[in-house]
Symmetry: C2
């Protein structure tokens, strides 16, 4: 049996023990994990230095930045664990209960999913975030970090496991070190039906696609966001500019950033010059990176910019680039979004309540906005307290996934000898 | 493009139109579908006669019985559609709503899944059942019947589509006739990510395994049930016998029937002779099929029966067969179930509240029972009014899936220009 196979068996075996652990013990163990991380900062930093040294010259500067830990980031990881400990326990809740005419009493009770696999890339902090969210929701996690972050993640998980040891639950946090190769370990995790209950990939579009297409374990599709803002014929221009500016430039590298702007033909000639002034001229004048405007034929007749090529309205730029198109009205905007959106977050800016309701109903995305930035699609901003990812699929959970979305339920049926 | 590919595109295109249809129109259309089926009974019967003739000699008698329709069964199908029409509309419900400190108003609203693929076998009535459940929940269905039932299903869907035509929604009910071959059509359906939102296989263990392992479209694992009854040391013997008899013999061919009996060592010597008398002697005397008892070593020392072979405690017999084992106590029963159950439905019979609570908590199945037959795991019996299947996985839905389990949700966010 491979190392991965042995780890998966230990994870499965730990699942019922963790599921049986009470809220107080879970919180105490999470607090011990946070202390353990803070106390072991030196070990983490020295492992991380090795990862960073090995990555130099091979990874881009921004990837190395994601990989690099310092004291402050480690404190942030420890604080993150304490924040999760402070959230309400999502398991053991009676979600519904009813009595049937035959006297059967039926309760629907929240339970952990069981064993949750997390495949991620080079951010070492995902290790403690995911471990804490899974632990609090009663789930054993099997972490599969990218090979670039392996030493850092091994050091972090060792500290977390040490803190769970006194509870007999070191195996509540498992890591696939990929002794037999990173790809082989990932493949084994994706094939581990019966041992792993759900797989959550966290990372770029390529990783997510590979998991969705290859995993036999049920997989939650997260992340990729081609988010739209539609400026309606009755939009408040100043509000529209604020929303677009925020959705595009506040943090362009994230999935809830805007990638496409659609403008109603009624107002395009008036609005687009304002857009160009705000996203290019004003930003340049302020010493900020101007946004590259990638224009369809009609927009290009109104303002200057890069002519849109095939695929530009289907690209998650994650950069200071915005595809801009002109549409007839809200109906054409909805059709465009249906054809090009990744169903993450899409927004209409309008003062027309009818157009707004039409858009909110007809756009089939995890989050639909009227007069607010798409950047709010986030577990913290939605008040979930945390998130393990943002689901762009429709099964199980949609949008930001917090602790509750890491649970399933079971029906508990109590009878007095009833038969059918 | 294949015929299947064209059908899938039509299905996708119909999804937003069906999602926008109001409750009254949906119900009126369902009533028209029921009338259309009843009025077209002759066409269905003649298509069905061809299917049955082609199946003779090739399929078993019980398979041919499942395949065969008569006036009464067609009336039952039409009535089933009307029952679904009478259920509450599961979409458009505000599941939650809250306001954030920044003034954003967020509602979580139930929405259809979109396009639901159903792969099934030779029961033609699944065609109208699944179509009605999907339609009521605002989902376009893409039906892939087994090749044995193809003519019957084509006749049924033609009548359903005809009834939906006046609403511009004939494509709300699509059927894959498999012009390019039944397997090729199924494979194309399983690969149709982006066009199909979820796949629900309905049928035997082989079909379900093939879907779960091969589908790139998210798939809900349904059905297979290796259900256990555990007779505790403090069980009421008479209640235990009633429950076991019901769970095993009332309808042995279904997934919520009992396949394994575990008996506490404390009472095995007293209880097993009563079991043998009830399930074998009394049934034989009444002219009913006796239940074959397949015994582990310890049970075989107490009563006569077939010695259990390897795999007998991991088999869904769907027949008058029951694997019987002796365990030390409720803890060993729970461990046995963890190792052998398909996580469908498992029961403890006991008068000891502590043992009952331990079992209900520790057994990780969709439905866990205290003192009632496992046969109650059913959408109708749980009060859902209907069911599209019984999920044995933990993502999305668990246990009986009714209309509500055919929905997802989206977050509707209303603002006044908020940015982050």
């Amino acid at each position: 049996m491979t190392e991965t196979g042995k780890t998966l068996l230990r994870a499965r075996a730990a699942a019922p023990r963790l599921a049986a652990l009470g809220t107080e013990d879970k919180n105490a163990c999470l607090a011990a994990m946070a202390r353990s991380l803070a106390g072991g900062a030196d070990r983490i930093l020295s492992a991380n230095a090795e990862d960073v040294a090995a990555a130099r010259g091979r990874l881009s500067a921004s990837m190395i930045d994601r990989l690099t830990l310092d004291e402050k980031r480690i404190r942030g990881m420890a604080d993150g664990i304490l924040e999760v400990a402070a959230l309400p326990d999502p398991v053991g809740l009676e979600l519904e209960s009813f009595e049937r005419p035959n006297g059967l009493s039926i309760s629907k009770v929240s339970v952990p999913l069981g064993v949750v696999g997390i495949i991620y890339e080079s951010r070492p902090n995902v290790t403690s975030d995911a471990a804490a969210l899974c632990f609090k929701s009663g789930n054993v996690c099997v972490l599969k970090p990218g090979s670039d972050a392996l030493r850092s993640c091994a050091a972090i998980t060792e500290l977390l496991r040490g803190a769970a040891e006194p509870y007999g639950l070191a195996d509540a946090v498992c890591v696939l070190t990929g002794a037999e190769g990173s790809r082989a370990a990932a493949a084994e995790l994706m094939n581990a039906t019966g041992l792993v209950d759900v797989l959550i990939p966290r990372g770029g579009a390529g990783l997510i696609k590979a998991c969705v297409e290859n995993s036999k374990v049920p997989c939650i599709q997260t992340g990729t966001g081609i988010c739209h803002v539609y400026v309606d014929g009755r939009a408040d221009f100043s509000m529209a500019l604020d929303i677009i500016d925020n959705a595009k430039t506040q943090r362009p590298s994230v999935c809830n950033a805007e990638e496409v702007l659609l403008v109603s033909r009624d107002v395009a000639a008036d609005f687009l010059p304002l857009l160009s002034a705000r996203l290019r001229d004003a930003r340049s004048a302020a010493g900020k990176t101007p946004v590259e405007l990638i224009l369809d034929t009609e927009a290009a007749r109104i303002i200057s910019g890069t002519p849109a090529g095939p695929g530009d309205f289907d690209t998650e730029f994650l950069d200071y680039k915005l595809a801009v198109g002109v549409v007839a009205d809200v109906r054409e905007a909805v059709s465009h979004i249906a054809a090009h959106s990744t169903r993450h977050s899409d927004c209409i800016v309008t003062d027309d309540p009818e157009a707004a309701e039409y858009f909110l109903n007809a756009v089939d995305s995890a989050a639909v906005y009227h007069n607010a930035s798409t950047r709010f699609t986030d577990g913290g901003e939605f008040g979930l307290g945390c998130e393990i990812g943002i689901s762009t699929q429709k099964l199980h959970a949609r949008g930001p996934m917090g602790l509750r979305e890491l649970t399933s339920y079971k029906y508990v049926v109590r009878g007095k000898g009833q038969t059918r």
